[in-house]
Structures are given as C-alpha cells and as structure tokens.
C-alpha cells in the first residue's frame, strides 16, 4: 500500500478529528480525498507538522491527529524529545514511513535504510510507540483515538505517489476555517 491508499482508508476516521497534515503530497492527497474544515494543510515549512499539532493539542481538549512523513520527521528530529516530555493525551502522531521523500521525487530517506524511527521515538522518551504495517493503519489509529493516550504510530508502507492537483486555497482561509472548527 502507498500513502494515498492509506489516507483513503483512514479518511472516514480522520473526518471527526482535528488533522494537521504534512506539506506537499500528503496535504494534496488528503485535500483531494476528503477536504474538511477540520483539516489544516501545510503549504510550506517542511518538518513542522508534528510541532504545530503538539502546540494545538496542548492548547485545547479535542483530539489532534498529525499526518507526518519519515522524511519530515527526520528534518525536525528535535520534535520527538519535545513530544515525549510534553505529554498530551489528545495527540496522535501518524508517521507514514515509506522510506522516501515522496513530494520531491521519491529520493530514499535514512528511515528506509538503517534508521528506525520507532526506536528513535522510544529512545527520545515517547511512551506509546506502535509500529504497524500499512494494512493495519486504520485499526491502530482508531484504537489510539479511543485510548485517549498520546501515541506515535510508525506506519511502514511502500513509496509511490498518485497524480494530484496542488492546493490553491488561500492559507488564511485554510487557517480561519480550521480555527472555527477547533473552536466549535
């Protein structure tokens, strides 16, 4: 399974949650599959989805699911100690780990080689790290939401992309409707 197939499968679960989605293809795919006011699409700033989601989870009570990638987590590796040491039980970080930088042409990441993000997250102090196969993602994600416990999910999947249009929505519109959804 590739990322877009995983997103299609978990879209009905994500629909009821606040979602912060990583820059590039992940946001474009989620936007195409199931655009919701509860989705915050990153149009720039690689690596910060997990940080934005953590700030959001610590500031209000609704569940926040961050859709991140292995490449983006590697870009902002300092995020994992911050997450581990600032526990928010309404925070779920779903790392779609396809071992490649998908948005830039599937160049390999170190997570697809010798580096295990699951072990890195554990070593950083994250207490609830689940590694799963792509096919299990929906089940693992729903379980994490129901558990109301901070969870890091590392979903190992295949690399590959589908053709998808860029997001042309104004960033202030994305932010404004997202904030209205957060506050509702």
């Amino acid at each position: 399974m590739i990322r877009s197939e995983i997103l299609r499968e978990v879209a009905p679960i994500l629909r009821d949650q606040l979602v912060v989605c990583n820059i590039g293809l992940p946001s474009q795919e989620l936007h195409m599959i199931d655009d919701q006011p509860t989705n915050f699409y990153m149009l720039g700033t690689m690596g910060l989805a997990s940080s934005i989601g953590l700030g959001l989870a610590l500031s209000q009570p609704k569940t926040v699911v961050v859709i991140d990638g292995d490449g983006s987590v590697l870009t902002n590796l300092g995020t994992l100690p911050t997450i581990a040491n600032n526990v928010a039980d309404n925070y779920i970080l779903l790392i779609v780990d396809n071992g490649s930088y998908g948005s830039t042409g599937d160049q390999p990441t170190y997570a697809g080689k010798k580096t295990s993000l699951t072990k890195v997250a554990e070593a950083c102090g994250c207490e609830n790290v689940v590694e799963c196969r792509a096919e299990e993602t929906g089940e693992v994600l729903q379980k994490a939401i129901d558990a109301k416990r901070m969870t890091i999910i590392v979903c190992k999947c295949e690399s590959g992309n589908v053709k998808v249009p860029v997001i042309t929505k104004d960033p202030v519109v994305i932010r404004d409707r997202f904030m209205a959804a957060v506050a509702s």
Binding site: L48, S50, L58, G78, T82, R175
Partner: protein, 165 residues
C-alpha cells in the same frame, strides 16, 4: 521589580499563555520567570523553527503564544517566519536577546548582530530595540500591536538593556 518579572507580567496581562524558549544567558531570568508562572505553559524547544511551529499550533488552539530566543535564530527561522507565521497570518511576539552588540565579549556574535536588523527589515517584520532599561515600558503596547496586526514582531534586547553580562 526586576526587568524579567516586569516583562513576564506584561505577557500575562496580554493573555500570553503558551511560551516556548531556547536557552540564552541574557534571557535566563525571563525564562525562569516564565517557568514559574502558573498562567503560562512553558515548553522549551530544541530549535527555534520547531518553537514557531508549536506557537502556530497553540495560536490555532486558542492560546496566545510567544517565543523567546537569540538573534542568531533569525538565521535559522526565515523560512518558517515567511511560509508559516506570515503566510497564514499569525501573531507571534519574539523576545530576542540581541547578542553581538556593545559590551559583547564573543567576536562571532558580532557577525550575526550585523545582519539581524537588515534581515528583519527585509522580511517586513516590525522591530523594536530595547537599549535602555526604560524602553521596557513599551512592551505592553508592542504586545497589543502584535495581536492587533496578526504579525510576527521582533523585540531586540541588547546587553546594555540587560545591564551588561
């Protein structure tokens, strides 16, 4: 009253409830004060762009954020300031120690000090420079201006303001 206490009093009076910090000797007193206040969630970050991401999330979650960092961080965070904070039009007070100014003992700090104001100007970031201790009186108005205008705003505090090292 200490300057650090006065600064954090202004934060609290302006409903700032989420503060991320990167360590700094000059701002050590402010960081301690932030940590001590029950009104503020203090979250140290490992890098300033990470901190700006945290602040963006907190703002969207309904909490007023602020970041405390050194001026070297301007070099680290340009992309984040432009494509996150400014592009999505979010307010962010940035309390910055202006290293490399008069009384600086470390030569390397002077290099980034020279670029600090030109970079902020190039980015269109409103910038205030605290040089004398009385300058802190403007902080309350600067914070109100930041949240009124929904912009990142820089408050540079140099060594003379802090009374030397």
């Amino acid at each position: 009253m200490s300057i650090s206490k006065q600064i954090v009093d202004d934060f609290v009076a302006n409903d700032i409830a989420f503060v991320t910090t990167v360590p700094c000797k000059q701002l050590g007193g402010v960081i301690e004060e932030v940590e001590a206040r029950p009104e503020i969630y203090h979250i140290p970050s490992n890098k300033e762009d990470e901190g700006m991401g945290l602040c963006a999330g907190a703002f969207m979650g309904g909490k007023r954020p602020a970041i405390i960092m050194q001026n070297t961080a301007i070099g680290v965070t340009i992309n984040t300031l432009v494509t996150l904070t400014q592009f999505y039009r979010m307010p962010l007070p940035m309390l910055i120690s202006f290293r490399g100014e008069l009384k600086e003992p470390v030569a390397c700090q002077a290099e980034m000090a020279i670029h600090t104001k030109p970079l902020l100007q190039q980015l269109g970031i409103p910038t205030y420079h605290f040089h004398k201790q009385d300058d802190v009186r403007e902080l309350d108005a600067i914070l109100k201006y930041t949240f009124m205008s929904s912009k990142p705003v820089a408050i540079l505090t140099d060594a003379t303001f802090w009374g030397g090292y």
